[in-house]
Amino acid sequence: MNRNEILDKVTQIFHDVFDDDSIVLTDETTAKDIDDWDSLTHITLISEIEEAFNMKFSMKDVLGMKNVGEMLDILEQHQ
Amino acid sequence: MTTREKIFETIISVLLICAMAATLGSYTKARSYDRDNIVGLYAEKKNSLDMIYVGGSACYVYWEALRAWENYGYTSYNFAANTLTPQSIKYCIQEALKTQSPKLWVIDLRPFQYGNEKKKNGEVLNMYDEVAIRNVTDNLKHSTLRKELIDISVPAGQGKMEYYFPFLKHHSIAINNLLRDCFHVFTGELNFDDLVFFGFQNKKNTLKGFAFINKTKAMDFTDYSHITETKPLQGVINEYFIDLLDYCKSVSIKPLFVVHSYCQKEEHKQKFNYMKQVIESYGFDFLNTNDYYQEVGLDYSFDLYNENHVNVFGAEKYTDFLSAYIKDRYEMPNHRGDPDYAEWDTCLNEFNARTAQAKREILIYAKESNE
């Protein structure tokens, strides 16, 4: 998968978790930009993405991710 | 920042700092007779007083300076505070001498009688009682004299900082007092310029140190003028007594030592006899007005408020007696008609109005008590 495909799939997961189809993600998107993206939904997101991409984030990744761009970088690495 | 802004900030800052320092340095305790009496002396015109009467409540509830003015035209002032400690008298005289040079000093001897007695309901001697000490020291201006007085008055083991800087002790009640005063200005009880900001306003005492008592209580009087036994003062208080006399001698003051008219006890009379002996040995004058109770003419069933204090009726009689005695004995000047002393006439009007008011209140009070 290339980066754009990964982004699409991740966006779909966001739509599901937040029940909001209007969300648009960029590399700079952070938790502040999306309502309801708090520490609890963060974990849900992480689980969903792990399941969808069949990989596991390390704790370092989970705590260290600053924005969607970094998340995509990690996903690319795990391809 | 532009230079102009910097200069502006600097000026504002310096002003603020000065204002804060002045407030902290001169903040004293709340409005009281003591503060008004002590602070009021500094506001009197320099060298305008012919007589200064130093003492405790036996002084400021008794001597009506404005009545003496009305009767004989000489000026006087009660430089007094409640339960004045005996050791304070010397320092009060020294402090007053900075701005006044009266012809006559009158000194109340009661402090030497109650000084080494225990405070009511307390364990502390009157002369070491914090409240008594502070009635004077909190209100005097900062000076080495004040510091000395604090040093000798405060018992060992107690912190002196809170005496040197009264705001350390009274700080928590400051806002409370300010709000209460503002409320009284709002209701008209106080004038706006009665609000003392920053402490450096020396408020003029228009009653010249007198306090009105507007109640009455029937008391008993026993005449001990025939008692001649003496009971010497013991210990430290005697040292203060002798020290005061030595001081007066050293600055060539010849005071009149007075005992006020009250329900004197036999033991008190004996103490005063001792004091009379010593005072006269120095060549100073002594007068126990209780020995002249008929001339003073107090009606002990009406003119008193309690054992130790008269009300306005009693104060009037006492002042009439003592002011005449002083006029005869000391050739006091007469300033009535002198334009330099015009404000005394203004104060007299206010004084007379308030006296009449107080007398009315006493009569109402007496009527209600009898019903």
Partner: protein, 537 residues
Amino acid sequence: MCVLEEPGFGLSSNVWSLFSLDFLIFLAVSVLFFYLLPRKMQWIVLLIASIIFYLFAGTPYTIVYLMASTLITWKAACRISDYREAGKENYIIRRVYLIALLSNILILAALKYANFLLGNASAIVSFFGGTKVEWSVSWVAALGISYYTLQIISYITDCYWERIEPQRNYAKFALFSCFFPQMVSGPISRYDQLNAQLYAQHEFKRNNLMCGLIRISLGFFKKLVIAENFNRLAQYFFDLENSEHTYGIYAIVGIGCYVIELYGDFAGCMDIVIGSAKCFGINMVENFNRPFTSVTIQEFWQRWHITLGTWLKDYIMYPLLRSKTFQKIGKYIKKTHGKQFSQKTTTYLAMLILWFCMGLWHGGGWNYIAEGIWFWLVIVLGQITEPFFNRVFHAKEHTGRLMTLFRQTRTTCIYAVGVVFFRGPDLTDAVKTICRSLSPKNIVNSLYEFPHFIYIAKDLELNDGKLLVYLINAFTGFAIFILLSLWEKKHGKLQDTLTCHTLILQITCILSVLFAIAFLGVYGSGVKPSDFIYGGF
């Protein structure tokens, strides 16, 4: 009145308590040495100062516990890194991590929770055994053990998760663990946030020093004016000796005063801590951020004692939710009840453990644990009922000022109930107090009496007979604080905005704060300062 005792001016007589003049002198001397000595030695100055502080602020011999924790952790972190490089198996690396982790937890448990555990054990034994036993120990707790232990655990865990490189120099690591401003009451710092600043070379910047001093003076204001005055009021309304008479509106007002006291105390302490660090040019993490503007209790705990909340989230909740056990539980529930339910249940379960730990961290007592459980309950109920409120009341759409105010008040009240548990002194007392305050009959009775109570307040005996005075000073101080808060909301923090202004204005600002403290603060000979609430942990 005539109190024959050493004039301590009402500031803490505990040597090196943060609110003492001694601490200020100590800080001044440290700052002096810090900038006078060569910059290479600055971190050594901090280390020596921290050791001296620890020896004098707590019981000296307890430094051995600190040394034990730091030595074990430092060695373990280095070893983990070495083993990783050497390619050793995961289970070996994990074993090293677990040994370090458990050692720290055990030391903390032994020193802090021994009596709690023994008390529970003896209760159980007494119940089943028939004879009453009461086991207890009287060990002296190490200063700041609850804070530095969490900080050390965060370090070793971050090393294990490869988030940070271990510190190879023991002395430098020791400095991170015992940096003196944070020893008494936090904040709980992270290694990656603090290490660069601690070991760096700091040039003297006047702004840093002035910022720090302004912050410290504000801290003293919060403690001496707000916390102390409200402490006296809370004591009166909520007098534990007369606890039978404290009911209805009196208890509610008392708790309100106690909440304000808590804030003044803790936030004031934080100001002094962060201000002190700022004097060295070190920026510490904030622990408070306008907590009473929170609209939900979750948000409250992101604004109150921030570092504890983030620590628990990062090192308890996330690891739990991602642990194999929880994944298994989640999968099992997903099979029977569906994905959404499974996610919610695992989250709530992890939160329960988190809040249990939060409560327990505050102290070894069931009332503390109850406090944690209370907040958990409120959050879970809030989440469960959220869809209902959205459907019926369209709650989400109401965002006006009045609604916000309602939510903020509601959050504060929820927090206040938690504080009743926190105050204790034990669980039964806390529950009784809540019942006594909130019973409708009590509220009505007390409301009826209250105006009369206020009328006679000026004559009421409160220690020194000054209830009305404390009331006035408390509210004046509170008003000043609120005004300053509103101003800061618009213009930014006071110490930051002042950096663009002249030095003399900065000095005048500090003097003005001291002036306000002079007239509104509770101090003087014969004044016993209230114990610093968060310092006993």
